[in-house]
Symmetry: C2
Subunit: 143 residues, 2 copies
């Protein structure tokens, strides 16, 4: 293993903070907060059959999701409809407007990302992005 480099964890942490900072203006322009965007983004994969399922998708617990869902539902960006088969469940789905907002956010975010990766050569960039995506996906499946 390499000797003369910084810790991976520290590097991830720094980059996380930097990205949050850089993306905040984009999100603010769309009047959403970070976790709002995370929720909308997760719902693009498809409606969530329960809020708990959505919570694990996003990587938060269900209690912290509720104020976010309240806000987004009030703005008409998503809907919570009771599941007739089991009325305890509420299926959460994007509205057309919600889909439009998340797409608008994503456009801005892609610009910020391109900026971060600008100095890399194309080969490095594609390896980096692909590995990053794979690692993040691997790490996803455990809460």
């Amino acid at each position: 293993m390499d000797e003369q480099r910084h810790d991976l964890g520290a590097a991830f942490g720094r980059l996380t903070r930097a990205m949050i900072e850089a993306e905040t203006p984009v999100l603010r322009a769309n009047e959403v907060e970070m976790w709002d965007y995370a929720v909308l983004s997760a719902l693009e994969e498809g409606p969530a059959p329960t809020q708990s399922e959505l919570a694990t998708r996003v990587g938060r617990d269900k209690t912290r999701l509720i104020p976010i869902l309240d806000r987004l539902e009030a703005r008409g960006l998503l809907g919570r409809t009771p599941d007739p088969a089991d009325r305890r469940n509420r299926v959460v789905a994007l509205t057309a407007e919600g889909r439009a907002v998340v797409r608008s956010c994503r456009r801005g975010i892609r610009t910020v990302e391109a900026d971060l990766l600008a100095e890399l050569d194309p080969g490095e960039r594609s390896v980096f992005v692909s590995v990053l995506d794979r690692l993040a996906e691997r790490v996803r499946h455990r809460p």
Copy 2:
């Protein structure tokens, strides 16, 4: 830019959390917390001429550094000695024991990191690590 992948920021965030979780047992075995380790690690580069300088090195503000320094100094892992040239300043430096602790932590952390990267092939791994380190360094220089 690629279309079908997750956001970089979300990936960084997930990996940050996963690494914190995976490294916690290592740090606990050495009786240090995450930011304790960050401070000790930063001091390996050399003594900090002022606490403020150390704060920016670590990426926190000076007020949040103080309880950490108190604790580490009490344990004899670092020293705070007034600078004779400007007695407002305190230069912060690792003790021999502090250096031993941070090295012990690092050994464990390297193992965790190797585990994360284990499935990658060597080429990918070296590109990924090198790019990550470079990006983190670039992003470092803005308080």
